[in-house]
């Protein structure tokens, strides 16, 4: 298999898919160099950007262009030589378009990793071949597992500094895969690379004949971006009611939204939550095309057979697989803000298209992501970057799925009602999947 970095043509570009992925690594693992090399070697870096990097590299006294400079954005970061926030990068090959959430791996920025991983279908975890699996690596694996990122790549970097030695790679891969499996991660692909020298990033390495797998880019180009959705329960949060009330469309009443999970079918019996009213899907309008089926993540307009009360914030789901509604939510959260989260606090909870009042009833435990996942029971509060369990009581019933079943209808935000600050990211249910049984290990990932 060869990578596809030939010049792009319109024919190539018409039928490609989109992969969203995230990278995580410590400052010294060479993450910025890896990202810079992906952008550079896939020819996504354009001449004016490269010139700017060459100028900046000369100013700093580097002899070769420092590819890490391609990815740092804000002046505040350049002055401090760190990355403080999630940056989104875009590149393309003839096979695929990529959106990369580039997240700093520094310990106090767990929230950025969580943010980047929340939309990612794949996470690249970097380790330095000289150091192996360290505390940071375990933290990154745990975040990928918590956020249920379907695919995980372990990139063992700086292989050039360990003489491209297979046993070094094998030992690290074995240790990481065992740890990831213990967190319930269904799939890990381990790749030995040198981001600096370019080995196995875009081009196959000439120094590691013993490795027969894909390069990083080849893997990114071929990993599945969607699963068989027919078995996932359908979830449709209503965003907006479309009522033209015009001479041409006097009675049109459509419910606009983006399918969060599964597939909707015309003729299917559905229930509207939280009211529980039932009706049938009479039509599906996929942005101007009338269709019989539509699936996640399409934006569509749903027409219902009966004139029932439906508004923004409601969830439409098939009667057969509708979620329970509840006012009591137990969830795993990542606290995102400097203002701590405490028991008794009144917050707003945003779930799908609905925002309701809620109160923090209990903080059962905090998890230490970096060591043994030890639980610190009933902490006084959750601080920024803390991961822990929360029990919430909402003012109104919500159709919340387990996050393990549905990333979009199992997730929510907690918001400060006073100033609108986003405080906490929540995932309903327990933090980690159970270790997969041997026969399930062949499955290609979590279904969403």
């Amino acid at each position: 298999m060869t990578s596809t970095t030939d010049p792009l043509t319109p024919e190539h570009l018409s039928a490609t898919t989109l992969l969203r992925f995230a990278t995580a690594g410590s400052v010294d693992d060479g993450k910025s160099t890896l990202v810079g090399r992906l952008l550079h070697d896939s020819k996504s870096v354009l001449a004016d950007q490269l010139e700017a990097v060459e100028r900046a590299s000369q100013v700093r006294g580097h002899s070769a262009p420092d590819l890490a400079l391609l990815t740092d954005g804000l002046r505040a970061e350049r002055e401090q030589g760190i990355t403080i926030d999630v940056a989104y990068r875009y590149f393309a090959t003839a096979r695929r378009r990529f959106i990369l959430a580039d997240t700093p791996g520094h310990v106090q920025y767990t929230r950025n990793m969580v943010t980047g991983a929340s939309t990612a279908e794949l996470a690249v975890v970097l380790v330095d071949a000289r150091n192996g699996v360290v505390e940071q690596t375990r933290r990154h694996a745990a975040v990928a597992a918590l956020l249920r990122v379907p695919h995980v790549v372990l990139a063992v970097n700086k292989m050039d500094l360990v003489d491209y030695a297979e046993p070094v790679f094998a030992a690290i891969a074995r240790e990481f895969i065992a740890y990831a499996a213990s967190l319930g991660v269904p799939e890990v692909t381990a790749i030995p690379i040198s981001a600096l020298a370019g080995d196995n990033v875009v081009e196959p390495s000439a120094h590691m004949d013993w490795y027969g797998g894909p390069t990083v880019l080849e893997h990114l180009e071929t990993v599945p971006v969607s699963h068989d959705l027919t078995d996932c329960p359908a979830r449709f949060p209503v965003q907006y009611v479309i009522r033209p009330q015009s001479a041409e469309h006097p009675d049109y009443r459509g419910y606009a939204g983006r399918i969060a999970s599964g597939m909707l079918r015309v003729g299917e019996q559905v229930t509207v939550l939280p009211s529980g009213a039932t009706t049938t899907i009479a039509g599906l309008d996929a942005l101007g095309r009338s269709v019989d089926t539509a699936w996640a993540p399409q934006s569509v307009t749903v027409l219902l057979a009966d004139d029932i009360d439906v508004s923004r914030g409601d969830l439409i789901a098939p009667v057969a697989t509708a979620p329970e509604v509840t006012q009591d939510i137990r969830a795993t959260v990542c606290h995102l803000h400097e203002r701590p989260l405490k028991v008794g606090e009144r917050v707003l909870l945003k779930h799908g298209t609905r925002t309701v009042k809620a109160i923090v009833k209990a903080l059962p435990y905090r998890i230490d992501l970096s060591h043994s996942l030890a639980h610190d029971n009933e902490p006084a509060q959750l601080d920024v970057n803390d991961i822990g369990a929360v029990v919430l009581r909402t003012a109104e019933p919500l159709p919340v799925d387990a996050y393990a079943e549905s990333r979009l209808t199992g997730s929510f935000l907690l918001i400060d009602p006073a100033d609108g600050t986003t405080l906490t990211a929540g995932m309903a249910g327990e933090p980690f999947a159970a270790q997969p049984a041997a026969d399930e290990a062949a499955d290609e990932g979590w279904d969403f």
Partner: protein, 311 residues
Amino acid sequence: MTTSIAPAESTDSPYALSHLDALESESVHIFREVAGEFERPVLLFSGGKDSIVMLHLALKAFAPAPVPFTLLHVDTGHNFPEVLDFRDRTVAEHSLRLHVAKVQDYIDDGRLRERPDGTRNPLQTLPLTDAIRELRFDAVFGGGRRDEEKARAKERVFSLRDEFSQWDPRRQRPELWQLYNGRHAPGEHVRVFPLSNWTELDVWQYIAREGIALPEIYFAHEREVFRRGGMWLTAGEWGGPKADEPVETRTVRYRTVGDMSCTGAVDSDATTLDAVITEIAASRLTERGATRADDKLSEAAMEDRKREGYF
């Protein structure tokens, strides 16, 4: 040796959306979120290609009902006449309502002063922020894309602005999953970027796929231009050329459409959408690097202008 728990399959499922369908769906979702949560949204519409694509997406998002918000254009007074004509035709065709804030009015009554270099792009900020305040807009759709410039790579889809329209990177909210938090205090507003995840090439491919009409200056045509700062600028009343800047007629097209004083044309024979797409795919310069003098002012030019309330 086994390095995987499970090998990746190399085929996409039949349910995988094409990248254009995925981007379109995301943008439509953003428009509908704003319409559902804000009182007075407005869409910044210049007649440039990104704002045309935004409007196209908004029309699709709410069809068969009309777009539930108005449009706003900040006219620098140095806009291309072809683009203003296109703007007005589009507004009429879809029965939309357009507000125009004019930099010239501000210069005429002394609230703004012409810059020595004749560039008016930086002067847009004040009329824009005044219009937002006076017309009480609480959400402002902009066509900014994260691939355009390094300072934009970290921009949120919902970008909170204070009552002075200022952007503070430290106050921006983390955006997870598809949950956009648009809460704001009275007087504050949110800039919303539905095209955040689109690249220049995506925009052009989408224009081609959807058959979206554009102003003719995006395609190769003959034009009187002169060289300044490494770019071909249009000769015109706005202040160019100077005596030592010879004017010549060249076959050019525009990749972006801003103020005439700082938007450069590129040499091109691309007279059709396919030709433009082929040219962009092979291009060795970014859109802004090639054609926008305002971004060349300093390495951190965009970051500074964003802080002040620019898009």
